[in-house]
């Protein structure tokens, strides 16, 4: 597969996405009751995570340098990041430690594709995972109108790149911690969900009032500041530095690279020891 031409790989990815989208649609139509319960409750949960910041902004007509529409833009952006993750990396791909810890990585390894391609495509659930997409898009559009944004193509391109970079940072953080499950499958089975919780729960808050130590920590060791706060500062011009719009993409490249190295090392370890899931002493037998 390594020597496959790029066009052919792209076609494979699109074919897989179409296939998984179809299966997602079939699941919805077969169990509309279950789907509605999941969809509505997950949408409310997503809205619940941004409610605190929204209520504060509404009560005090903004938070520090963030006017009310700017806050709403950031909250919409945070929901869009969540939506992209939910739609493209469902079935525990984003919470990778569960797959590793439960021995389900074997299911990925037996596919006739590279691991990265399988992980990129088999979590695609564009319908059942779209619970944060509608409120996120609505908030961003409303805020853009209030802010009288007339975005040029360059701004739209930067916004799209930043959005993808924010998603990449969240996923990379999850994969980085999730790789621990290669060495401690039982103990670290849920570590990615703890990592994702940190990224998601802190992301809707403006971090401007924090001191340098905490702010530095939330942009490096716990890079939750890159999920919404920093990219929105850059896109809305709150941070006037000319390099501000490329900081999040750069951070995404660095963290993704680090996560890829650690994940690969874990995979090599897994290749030697395998999964103990189905052994007589396995924790999930």
């Amino acid at each position: 597969m390594a020597g496959k031409p790029m066009g052919k790989t792209l076609r494979t990815i699109l074919r897989h996405w179409r296939l998984f989208a179809w299966m997602d649609l079939v699941w919805i139509t077969r169990q509309p009751g279950f789907f509605l319960t999941y969809f509505v409750s997950d949408m409310l949960l997503a809205l619940g995570t941004i409610a605190t910041t929204f209520l504060l902004a509404a009560r005090f007509e903004g938070i520090g340098p963030w006017s009310e529409p700017r806050v709403v833009f950031m909250l919409g952006y945070a929901l869009l990041v969540r939506a992209v993750q939910d739609m493209f990396f469902g079935f525990n791909v984003a919470i990778i430690s569960r797959r590793i810890g439960r021995g389900q990585l074997d299911h990925v390894l037996i596919q006739p594709h590279p691991v990265w391609l399988t992980l990129l495509t088999e979590g695609f659930v564009p319908f059942s995972g779209a619970m944060a997409l509608i409120p996120g898009a609505a908030l961003v559009l409303w805020a853009a109108r209030q802010l009288a944004l007339h975005p040029a193509a360059l701004w739209l391109g930067l916004a799209a790149i930043n959005l993808l970079a924010s998603c990449a940072i969240t996923l990379a953080f999850s994969f980085l911690w999730g790789s621990v499950a290669y060495w401690a499958p039982r103990a670290a089975e849920e570590i990615s969900s703890a990592a994702m919780s940190i990224m998601r729960e802190i992301s809707p808050f403006p971090l401007d009032g924090l001191g340098p130590i905490w702010l530095g920590g939330l942009l490096t060791a716990l890079p939750t500041g890159f999920v919404a706060w920093y990219p929105c500062r850059a896109l809305l011009g709150i941070d006037p530095a000319p390099y501000a719009p490329v900081v999040t993409p750069l951070a995404a490249v660095l963290l993704s690279g680090l996560a890829a190295i650690v994940f690969y090392r874990g995979l090599m370890h897994y290749g030697r020891v395998g999964s103990q899931r189905y052994l007589s002493f396995g924790h999930r037998r």
Binding site: S41, G48, T49, A51, L210, W214
Partner: protein
């Protein structure tokens, strides 16, 4: 075998419940219950680190959240000393204490996750009542968090620039009473939602997510109800979620009328437990476990 059938089978095999009319056996039974409660709570506390060895990550999230929230309050309240009758210092104390007692103010038990995993069957095999078992396990977990997160956070409060003390000794006593009542209401809601999930034959995940979202917004644990926009807090203050979190925190910071808040909590505790027990009695035979 249905649960009632199991009880009937146990009685026909010679087992008899202890006679309650005589004082000595009754005292012995009470001591036995207390011992079982303590042992279950101790086991739950000891199992905490083993069951979720990455709990420090959860504590890190909680610490980060409280630091970010404190910075947000300082930003929005700025130089103003009082907003809607609450001083800036009281808001900061409210936020800190909300995180210190977060486990109790947002009372969650093992019950619904046990239903999700199918391990709820083991609850029915224990020689104790379901309620006391669940309460003991939950109190045990609270104890662990209290020692390893809440106490260190309280000790670190000077570094966060927050006064952790209650507004007065009277406020501390009222807070203690109110905290117990908040837990009683929280357990009732757990029981009620368990009955609801069984009755509707729905996935616990959906209803849990819905409940989490409601609690986050309605309870006033994060944003004091008096500081909510559009007069929302005036309405939410009468709901049971506010009695779970907002009421004790208002008493701690002396920003609410003690008698009204405690009476409201007592009222909700009675109503919710009456509904929860009735709903559970009506639906417990429908309980089905899958898990795996």
């Amino acid at each position: 075998m249905a649960l009632d059938d199991a009880s009937a089978a146990a009685e026909s095999s010679g087992w008899r419940p202890p006679r309650r009319s005589q004082p000595l056996p009754r005292i012995t039974a009470l001591v036995g219950s207390a011992r079982r409660f303590y042992k279950t709570a101790a086991m739950a506390a000891a199992a905490y680190a083993g069951d979720s060895p990455w709990f420090p990550l959860d504590y890190l999230l909680r610490l980060a959240r409280v630091v970010v929230l404190l910075s947000l309050w300082r930003t929005v309240l700025g130089g103003s000393h009082t907003v809607s009758g609450i001083s800036t210092d009281a808001v900061l104390t409210y936020t800190l204490i909300s995180e210190v007692f977060a486990d109790i103010l947002n009372c969650r038990t093992d019950l619904i996750m046990a239903l999700w995993e199918g391990s709820i069957t083991s609850f029915f095999l224990q020689p104790t009542r379901l309620v006391s078992q669940v309460v003991a396990r939950t109190v045990g977990r609270w104890g662990f968090s209290l020692v390893f997160f809440s106490m260190p956070l309280l000790l670190a409060s000077p570094a966060l620039g927050v006064n952790p003390w209650p507004a007065s000794p009277r406020a501390a006593v009222a807070f203690g009473v109110s905290l117990v009542l908040a837990a009683v209401i929280g357990f009732a809601l757990e029981y009620l939602f368990l009955a609801l999930i069984v009755a509707l034959d729905q996935s616990p995940w959906g209803i849990e997510a819905l409940r989490g979202a409601l609690a986050m917004v309605l309870s006033g644990a994060v944003v004091p109800l008096a500081l909510m926009p559009w007069g929302l807090g005036d309405v939410l203050a009468w709901l049971p979620y506010a009695s779970m979190a907002s009421a004790p925190l208002r008493l701690y910071t002396a920003t609410g009328a003690p008698l009204t808040l405690i009476l409201l909590q007592v009222g909700w505790a009675i109503i919710l437990w009456a509904i929860a027990l009735r709903a559970w009695q009506a639906n417990r035979e429908k309980l089905a476990c899958y898990g795996g």
